[in-house]
């Protein structure tokens, strides 16, 4: 036939490479959702939160449940939910004559679980990805290579990197949830592991004033939808078109 061994080996090699590539591209990690997808969101009612000047309940609960280390060196700190002064959290809303109330009380900020997340677009391994079934922007700590591109791309500063081993900085380990190794990025995960057991996020549960409302935007009867339609709400940096899912009532 005129085909020699060299030619055959070349063709076999290229086919092998090509097929492998096609297989990898076609097989997908995530299960296809069979139910109607949800869009989980939060409304933070700062009117209720504002009164409690020194309250840290939501932050302590979240960081305790998720083994978030307490690192004193602010350069290496890790935080999933925290308080930030109004002018830092909402720079476009800030002006010289805002009310004393807004000026003096910090806002609670966390990952916004955007519908158009820039962190997901830039991740070179899809270690961070947006779950189709409920819109949560998840972290896969097994896959993260620690390149920190997601931290660079996030307009809200929601992400933290493990610059060193976290275990020495955790006072009391919650054994039901893993700690993270050094070299990976982490952030709020909307308590995906609690939602899987039909629980509400730790911060929502911990707030004594019930200032954090959590639910499904796709469900017209959910509390979040009712609160959103009854109140004026703002979101952080809307002009960047990330479509964040954390709303604030000031």
């Amino acid at each position: 036939m005129g085909m020699d061994r060299r030619f055959f080996l070349k063709i076999a090699g290229w086919s092998g490479l090509g097929l492998n590539g096609i297989v990898k591209a076609v097989t997908n990690d995530e299960n296809i959702a069979t139910e109607v997808p949800k869009r989980l969101a939060m409304v933070i009612d700062m009117r209720k939160c504002r009164e409690q000047k020194d309250c840290k309940d939501c932050m302590l609960a979240c960081h305790r449940v998720h083994n978030v280390p307490e690192i004193k060196n602010t350069k290496h700190e890790i935080k999933w939910i925290w308080k930030e002064p109004f002018e830092n959290a909402f720079p476009s809303q800030n002006h010289e004559y805002i009310s004393n109330q807004e000026k003096s009380t910090p806002s609670i900020i966390l990952c916004n679980h955007c519908d158009n997340p820039p962190c997901v677009s830039v991740c070179p391994t899809q270690a961070t990805f947006r779950r189709d079934k409920d819109g949560i922007v998840m972290m896969d700590f097994h896959r993260c290579i620690g390149c920190r591109y997601c931290m660079v791309a996030c307009p809200y500063g929601s992400r933290s990197f493990n610059w060193e081993e976290a275990k020495p900085y955790i006072k009391e380990i919650n054994f039901k949830f893993p700690v993270r190794t050094k070299g990976v990025v982490e952030k709020c995960n909307f308590c995906a592991e609690r939602i899987a057991k039909n629980q509400i996020p730790a911060c929502v549960e911990a707030c004594k004033e019930k200032a954090i409302i959590f639910g499904d935007l796709m469900d017209p009867d959910s509390e979040v939808r009712k609160v959103l339609s009854a109140n004026d709400t703002i979101r952080r940096k809307p002009h960047l078109h990330t479509l964040p899912n954390v709303y604030y009532i000031m």
């Binding site: 931290m151 500063g157 060193e164």
Partner: protein
Amino acid sequence: MIEYALRGTKKYWTLIFTLLAVIVIGFVAYLYQLREGLSITGMSRDVSWGLYIAQFTFLVGVAASAVMVVLPYYLHNYKEFGKLTILGEFLAVSSVVMCGLFIFVDIGQPSRVLNIILYPSPSSVFFWDFASLGGYLLLNIIIGWKTLDSERKDIAPPKWIKPLIYISIPWAISIHTVTAFIYSGLGARSFWFTAIMAPRFLASAFAAGPALLILLTLIVRKVSNFDPGKAAIQTLAKIVTYAIIINVFFVLLEIFTVFYSGIEEHIQHFKYLFVGLHGKSNLVPFMWVSVVLAITAIILLINPRTRKRENLLIFACIAVFVSIWIEKGLGMVVTGFIPSPLDEITQYMPTFPEILITIGVYGIGLLVLSILYKIVISIREQKA
């Protein structure tokens, strides 16, 4: 042809062993970083990229600049560059090797680096950057090696080299455009979120790269009997001149847009760089040195009488290289993070281990460059 690199003068071996010593020191520092984590660097939650990524960004430009000798020779038959193309291609190889290494030492979980290949993510610019850099490395190794081998045997290079060379020209432009896209597509970072990122990258690359190439060629001329000729050096110098003028012009364009609009969010970064922001001014002295060097270089290069005098040309090339290294290798990356998305200022200064690792990687690049250039020199001296 590797055997040419295994035989050399005392000076050559001194160079090689010095570089090896530097590399070993850098490697030990890297082992320390592997054990402790990236906390040993000066990076922080706010400034999540530092010296390593900045060097990567700068060196992609140096790698791309090989096109500035390849294009005139192969597309426009500019015979004077005939002897220089191999030097440009091998400089590109050395630079891309360093780029890959700088990314590697910056990664938090290096054992997982293959995840980039196992889980390709075309939406991430990193994916395209690795693809284009990898391809460019292969192109330059193949083209350089084959053309040099053919020169050694006094035959014409094989026909299939020509299409590869033609591809390498737009490919060189693409590697630096893609690297610029890493930054210019991020709405979160107002310092980088500008379309002129890619043109600025290209302009600074075509200034710094050929400047370095001139210096390397003069060094080669000193240690061997290979002389590229005055015409080739002068043409390269003219390319550097135009490129550095365009680069400065682009920076001035940015400054106009930013300051005329009065948008504080954009102004803050430039204030930080040139006068300091809220008292924080780590980079200010560096930036002004960069400005002075650039202006001095332009004055020396634009005037043919000073450009033709070799010691002034050498000074101008060093000035161009250092000026752009400061601008891209120090200023550009870190300033994107200052102020942070929450309007906070966390400054960045590299730590000693970080600097050691950086020097170690440069050592590896210089080792690759020395070996490749030695092969070129030996072959040309043999033929002469």
